[in-house]
Symmetry: C2
Subunit: 269 residues, 2 copies
DNA sequence: CTAATCTGTATTTTTTGTAATACAGTTATT
DNA sequence: AATAACTGTATTACAAAAAATACAGATTAG
């Protein structure tokens, strides 16, 4: 999960590609230390449940990516690429991506924009009525022209009508909402993981079937009304949710408390 | 992502299975509302880049799982299974899974246990010396006999020697550490996503190549010394990280602050 | 030196996926 | 009621991918 794009030339949905993705993931996650020798091709073929030829094709691709080095007789060793791009870190406690630290800036591209009925699960989560109309916007956010997140937001139509399509590209959504007279009170969010479907995969420049981090967030106003529903997908190699906790209290009351991050500009991505 | 195990009888690494996993994921994530009709088989074949026969095989499996209902002429509709098990929710701010609420209890099974040299990235993260020896334990945690997390912990050998292998099964690790004279000060954690490798997939009862949530945590004592490194993998259909934030402050200083969860017993899983 | 283990290469066989075609059920339109 | 345009169903012949097998060259451990 290190390369900007999947430059391997393996058949899109084939087994070799699947093995390639798994191995690349393992290497990126530090499961195989640098300069460590991987298990032999025969061994790998058994663990992955494929033939040696298939493993071999995957290794060919990894080798081409510069992630491994193979020497006949001695084996295959892991070689981390010289310039591994650091993933963008977002502070889970403040919803703020730490972009300034790395001198990075992000741009958003609008994929689709429409008004319509809210999907069932969105309605339920936001506490909207059966026939509630919402603005649905899908954007892809990139850092240095490398896309890292796929965002779909649902905003009740009456609120969304207070800002323009152009505002979305320039101003953080929370500012737009608060400018629209909404008093934001709280947000519930939950993180999980999912597979990249064809459309998302294309938008994010990853292989279909690769792992993505998913985040759902419901933002409510002081009346408990849902004012925004966010369904976000992130490339795990380019984005991370971080959090620091402190151990406080004494004796049996000792427990964890989140440490609030430093102040950095807000951002919706 | 609803079934306990992948009961589909599709060739393990085949394309049909890949499509099956993707569609199941989409349905589980609410991307297709209940009773919504899916795109036609021909259409799906195009979006997934496979033949219609392959899509058909995937749909056969979904149908067998009871996730969809097909009617010639009208199309294929989504049917959520009657008893969808609620995922376990863990509070990210307190590191406490909310198990009590749902009357659930977890059990841990030890997969491997050893002492040895720490892998490179673990050493770096914990700030240990080149030749530091650590205790490495891999456990699978289950709720009601359904495995949901795969945990690997690294603890410096001198600390780990203060408790027994049996203690690990019964007592939360933080209590063991603090009983060993360690004063825990802070923890850094980060969340991401990854693919299920064959060994993890087997332990968690999922398909190889399905999406997993991954969590890395480094726990430090008051001297900044790493006392625990946790690499955890979670089934996204059975586990979720939740967090509630409050919007506080006035004007331009308005920002988010995490809301601390209710008090529930601690747990390492 | 020898044996074991590794990657590299080539060939054949088997499995899997694809494409094409015809058919049948449903729905909306004419 | 007929029809057109969708849907899923089924079977076929064909192409592509993967598996199985065998063996050659490189390297390391004993």
């Amino acid at each position: 999960m290190t390369q900007t794009a999947d430059r391997a030339t393996l058949p899109e949905g084939g087994k070799a590609r699947r093995v390639y993705l798994l191995l690349r993931d393992e290497i990126a996650n530090g499961l195989h230390a640098e300069n460590a020798t991987l298990p032999g091709e025969q061994r790998m073929a058994e663990t992955f449940g494929v033939s040696r030829v298939t493993v071999r094709r995957a290794l060919d691709a990894l080798s081409q990516d510069g992630l491994i080095e193979r020497r006949a007789g001695s084996g295959t060793t892991v070689r981390l690429p010289p310039a591994q791009a650091q993933p963008i870190a977002a502070d889970f406690t403040t919803l703020m991506p730490q972009l300034v630290e790395m001198g990075q800036s992000t741009t958003a591209r609008l994929l689709s924009f429409s008004y319509g009925a809210a999907p069932d699960h969105v309605r339920r989560a936001m506490g909207l009525g059966q026939s509630a109309r919402v603005q649905i916007a899908t954007r892809v956010r990139s850092a240095e022209d490398r896309p890292f997140s796929h965002l779909t937001t649902y905003v009740p139509a009456d609120i969304a009508s207070n800002y323009s399509e152009g505002d979305l590209a320039t101003t953080p959504l929370y500012h737009l909402l608060e400018r629209s007279g909404v008093t934001i009170d709280e947000a519930e969010q939950s993180v999980s993981a999912t597979l990249a479907s064809p459309d998302v995969a294309e938008a994010l420049g990853v292989s279909v079937g690769s792992a993505l981090m998913s985040l759902r967030r419901v933002v409510r106003d002081v009346n408990g009304r849902g004012v925004e529903y966010l369904a976000a997908l992130y490339r795990p190699d380019m984005f991370r949710l971080d959090m620091t906790l402190s151990r406080v209290g004494e004796g049996s009351a000792r427990h964890w408390r989140p440490r609030i991050g430093a102040d950095v500009p807000e951002d919706g991505g």
